[in-house]
């Protein structure tokens, strides 16, 4: 975290993994299967919050959400708000969660994602631009099941990048 040791640390892997998550977010899975696509960006954000707490920060999280609002052609501020709140709570939980085994982390991730989905649903009802299919809850479950995979892959990335 001190500047002279940060030369060997490849912090740029965080934006790169997020960019890959953005691509996965928009991948068409075909017809009605689309609504089961988990929110990869939330998963990657949660991982980095847990792994390097307080490093992402609230403003970058908000900007990432705003970028997603633009990329997804949605109402501006919707994802900005949801990612901001997600990162805020993920950061708060990070130090506790790091001690947990992966499957228990999955449970925490599930709760965080349910929270985010409820928030998005709430915003959608107020703004009136949401088509909330019940499949989203299944997508949240799928995301929680995917957590160990994300965790293992991103831990490799983190070790390779020599992040703490």
């Amino acid at each position: 975290m001190i500047s002279n040791s940060s030369r060997s640390k490849k912090w740029w892997v965080i934006p790169i993994t997020l960019l890959i998550a953005f691509c996965f977010f928009a991948v068409p899975t075909g017809g009605s299967l689309n609504s089961y696509n988990p929110d990869w960006i939330s998963l990657v954000l949660i991982y980095w919050c847990f792994a390097v707490p307080k490093k992402i920060g609230l403003l970058p999280a908000w900007l990432i959400g705003l970028f997603l609002d633009v990329v997804s052609f949605g109402t501006l501020g919707r994802y900005a708000l949801s990612k901001l709140v997600l990162v805020f709570f993920a950061d708060r939980l990070a130090l506790r969660v790091r001690m947990f085994p992966v499957w228990q982390q999955s449970f925490i991730v599930l709760i965080l994602l349910i929270g985010e989905t409820v928030l998005l649903m709430f915003i959608g009802i107020i703004i009136g631009d949401i088509d909330f299919s019940s499949n989203r809850w299944i997508a949240v479950l799928i995301a929680a099941f995917l957590w160990p995979v994300i965790y293992i892959i991103l831990r490799r990335v983190r070790q390779w990048a020599r992040l703490p």
Partner: protein, 283 residues
């Protein structure tokens, strides 16, 4: 820890307020529409990468199609083309006749329409609604509220315009309503998308309404958003509950909006069809 603990929550409240202001301003006003059209160009590379697996598999699929299959497809298409052509000849004459008759009874003539061809981009832009992207944007003159028609019927409407891409909300999205008219009985109603996949629902049909399974309904042209006369869907199931004054009607869109690859963006250009157009048509 204590003074530092205050700092993030102060920033959190600031950003929360900012998000809410953004949300309200973007949903109630058109303030950001031009800016976002330009900024949305950043989505191009992301969507290009996201669509690459589908395009790759489709390319492989096309390459593996054998000669006989292609030839068969070609003959089918040729036959379809011939049938369409002959129908179109009739259509011109019919339209001219229709205009003359309208003039006689003094009805207002229909608006003339212009169509812009567009391809669906193979991405799924948002997880929380049923939108698709097309490869036309503000640079091609696309505007918000334009009706989108597929080969078999109405697909949806343009909801947001980028510089080179626009997003289209499908009629099967539960936030969408579309004024329709039944072809057989002439009843007018509004059909909504439903949250159960690719279906529509018509909640405002009275229990005594003359509707049957398989009835086709087309756009009625009311509401000035969708032009008149394009097929929307057919009735799939009708349930009548004694306790409810309305039928519960489930319908199927004629165009499977999520399976379409090419669409037309229809715009009224404000001109009524004139006498000279009429001459041209009858010649």
């Amino acid at each position: 820890m204590k003074p530092k603990g205050l700092f993030p929550s102060y920033r959190l409240i600031l950003l929360l307020t900012l998000s809410i202001v953004l949300l309200l301003m973007d949903s109630k006003t058109e303030m950001f529409s031009q800016g976002r059209a330009v900024v949305s160009v950043v989505a191009l590379p992301i969507h290009m990468v996201a669509s690459s697996p589908v395009l790759f598999f489709r390319w492989i699929g096309n390459d593996l199609e054998d000669w006989g299959e292609l030839k068969q497809k070609y003959t089918v298409l040729q036959r379809q083309h011939l049938i369409m052509q002959s129908r179109l000849q009739q259509f011109d004459a019919l339209q001219a006749e229709n205009m003359r008759l309208r003039k006689i009874i003094g009805a207002e003539s229909k608006l003339s329409e212009e169509a812009l061809f567009a391809r669906i981009v193979e991405v799924h832009p948002d997880l929380y609604n049923q939108t698709v992207l097309v490869d036309r944007g503000a640079a091609d003159g696309v505007y918000v509220g334009q009706a989108v028609i597929g080969p078999a019927g109405v697909i949806g409407q343009v909801v947001r315009v980028g510089l080179f891409r626009s997003s289209i909300m499908l009629i099967t999205d539960s936030s969408q309503g579309i004024p329709v008219q039944f072809v057989r009985s002439g009843i007018r109603t509004i059909v909504y998308g439903s949250d159960q996949g690719n279906l529509l629902s018509a909640p405002y049909l009275a229990r005594t309404a003359d509707v049957r399974r398989g009835d086709l309904f087309v756009t009625s042209g009311l509401g000035d958003l969708y032009p008149e006369g394009y097929p929307v869907g057919t009735i799939k199931e009708i349930d009548s509950d004694v306790n409810s004054p309305f039928l519960s009607v489930v319908a199927e869109p004629t165009a499977q909006p999520s399976a379409v690859r090419e669409v037309l963006l229809i715009s009224h250009n404000g001109n009524k069809i004139t006498a000279t157009d009429l001459e041209k048509m009858s010649n």
